[in-house]
Symmetry: C2
Subunit: 174 residues, 2 copies
């Protein structure tokens, strides 16, 4: 009886695994598909300061890069690769003339955040995000809308060019 | 004997007070002299993010404004005036082209902190800094050197023009 039961359980298990695999996303080149960050990490606005950036040209963007405790500790101890659990947030705003400041300064020279444009994230989980160098990439528009898949697929190939700093372009501002 | 002792003590006290006053800084217009922040507040680099700014023109500066817990809470609850204990830090860096980013983007558009230029502080203590609107102004160069007195005297008259927001120009970036 026991041997029959075992065969039945084994068969059911195999069937179950096969059924599960049938619902998994298609794999290409034997690699798992890319997974992106689909949920805004809690508390990101309280993360601490890493650096700032001004992107001119078509972006016309002013940004701040913040990191959670794991990120900040890794930056300050120059730990590479970044440990699992690292979360880096890039808060982007329009690079807008500040009329009040310009009046105070006496000339047009001051630019501050006009309105938020998007928030982007990099979350380190070397197992979950193995297909994209251990990093989960996320993009959320001004109203929290996630980035389109075609756009999200462009994150990793670009970041992968930064090999020396574990795919992270932003450096720590002292 | 007691009355003589009293007169002697009283005379000594008056002499002591007069001597003390002779060493106090000269008062002008009956107002106490301006006092500036002369010591960099501990832990400022761990303060949380308020906003960023790009000052073009002669300053060519990229900056981040950070605040201690009292500051952040006041900003988020729109509390005015800022409470005593508020500390706001403005970290300034050169607005420098980022060669690596420009190569990735394919055009010259990216500016990040080159090197630190100065850190400026506003510390709220309505009693200690009564002469300057309740705020102590501080400026420290790249190597921690405090700003010259003539320069420090220009902080308050300028900030005093921002009456609606308790002398603070920087607004909170969401």
């Amino acid at each position: 009886m026991r041997s029959i039961a075992f065969v039945l359980v084994a068969t059911a298990s195999i069937a179950g695994i096969a059924a599960h695999k049938a619902h998994e996303p298609k794999q290409t080149n034997g690699q798992p598909p890319a997974i992106f960050v689909t949920k805004i990490p809690t508390g990101y606005r309280d993360f601490r300061f890493i650096s700032v950036a001004h992107e001119a040209g078509g972006l016309n963007s002013l940004g701040a890069v913040l990191g959670n405790d794991v990120a900040i500790k890794a930056y300050r101890t120059k730990t590479l690769p970044f440990p699992d659990g690292t979360i880096i947030a890039a808060l982007h705003y329009t690079h807008s003339p500040n009329a009040e400041n310009n009046q105070i300064f006496g000339q047009a020279q001051s630019f501050t955040p006009g309105s938020p444009t998007n928030i982007q994230f990099m979350i380190k989980d070397s197992h979950k995000y193995a297909a994209t160098g251990g990093w989960g990439f996320g993009h959320f528009g001004a109203h929290g809308e996630p980035g389109a898949e075609a756009f999200m697929k462009t994150c990793f190939p670009c970041h992968a060019r930064e090999k020396a700093r574990d795919l992270v372009f932003t450096q720590y501002a002292p």
